[in-house]
Symmetry: D3
Subunit: 113 residues, 6 copies
């Protein structure tokens, strides 16, 4: 696991704890729902993480892209599969996604090694 | 194939022909690219259509949702798989997607029969 | 309650039932969360409905605007208060909201009588 | 001027009057600003209307697209110029704009005659 | 007032001056309108700032979130009220807002002290 | 050409090469389409770059704004023309664009010298 991935996770967990420590029941319920929808079910986790990744790119959310790029790597996405997800996001949402795709590709190459 | 699906397709094709008949080379190239990215590759067509569907819901594009809902039905998506795609879109993009999910579910039930 | 409001509610309930009858636990949990966040709490329901209304306009969701416009009327919003919410949405999100504000104002006048 | 254009304008003016009759000073000021930015200046009205048109397509606002399509026709946009604006919007914002571009092209052909 | 808040304000004012010094009358008019809509009226400033805050989160504008978070603190928002605004934004707009809510909560805690 | 512009271009080219080196044919085709739509045609390059700039601001893409701001400067946009593009983007898309317009104006002043 690269330093960048470690750092991303640490910061993410620290901030999530800050949010969850505020004791707002609805925010807590949302967070557990956000975990639940990606669990294995009729669709497996890999497919669900792909859905999360493509949604993150078309919505242009860099933090979400980083999270799901790491996740799809963990569940065994191949290089070509990754590129095909990017190509769909690019065609659906247009050139406005290019800056985000550049970052996703850069991260993908880093965590590949 | 229900009447609604037939009508949707006819109207879509008619309008696509109007657009393509204008002879703008870049628009034509975009349209063929838009077909190409969903073809079987490292990821199969079913997975790619799921990516198209989730992107359509989070981007709240009813016309696109109709198109991809019909397509995922054709490639054999099950009821439970469909619901899981909707649940991810709902959590990623929030209550603002509910009006679109209502329409998607209504269409899904129609084409199921 | 005007015919338009009655019809909107009937259709909304019918479609919500279709969605909820599908027995996807995460979708159900999301729907109850979507009710819970508008309940009286540290902020009262009126203020929360205003938040829902302004969010609906800046996100340009006509169905959501209709729902929250009816709700803020029920909880006693005045004409001037309604206009001020619209003015904030308009300035935050720009002229792109005007078609939606036109519909909101039209509905507001209808349910006023 | 086609019937559809006449009808669009009548309805638009009627609703605008409803909005402006509410006497919210900030909404009125916004509306006059919305007119002012398209006036001849360092850039001429035609160029500014093109900017309004491309913005409307990438933001997927059908009402705005109708308005600016009529306007660019009035200020003398040619067929090829219209198509090039559409091609830029399509590439910037992706396939999600296609349903809106279909409507724009349909309207363009109607008002051409 | 924390250093971060001071710095944010200084930079914001400096850049606003750059924009306003350009002498485009319409931009100037927009900026004064942007101030005017938050002034006390039928709705008080606190409620209006809450509207600005929720709009900023659902539109995922970090700079706007920082500005309105500082403002709602100044006008006396409590911890629980702040959390309830965040919970509504989260449910309306989904998990895509979480990275922005993390930043908002972090800032809120900083300026609390 | 300022240091900031040079650096922006170097980084952009480096990342583009990473993306294109992945040998996904559809991504490559999209990239060449993205160049083609801005070429001289019925509309000249300057007008097309203005369309790209206004689209970038209303879509709030800082990287795209930087790119098109540099481009419009190269093709001879004047100060007043630049401000008028910004004023249209601001009115179309509202105060949410202000943080991006601040950055665009700052960059414009830098590359002016």
């Amino acid at each position: 696991m690269s330093d960048r991935v470690k750092e991303f996770r640490l910061k993410r967990e620290e901030l999530n704890e800050q949010v969850l420590s505020r004791d707002n029941i609805n925010i807590k319920r949302f967070f557990s729902l956000d975990t639940a929808v990606y669990n294995d079910g009729a669709l497996d986790t890999k497919t669900k993480e792909l859905l999360g990744l493509v949604a993150s790119v078309v919505l242009r959310c860099d933090d979400c892209i980083t999270y799901h790029t790491i996740r799809v790597r963990e569940v065994g996405l191949t290089d070509e599969e990754f590129d095909e997800v990017m190509s769909i996001a690019l065609v659906v949402r247009g050139s406005i996604t290019i800056p985000h795709i550049r970052q996703a590709v850069k991260l993908w190459k880093e965590i590949e090694n």
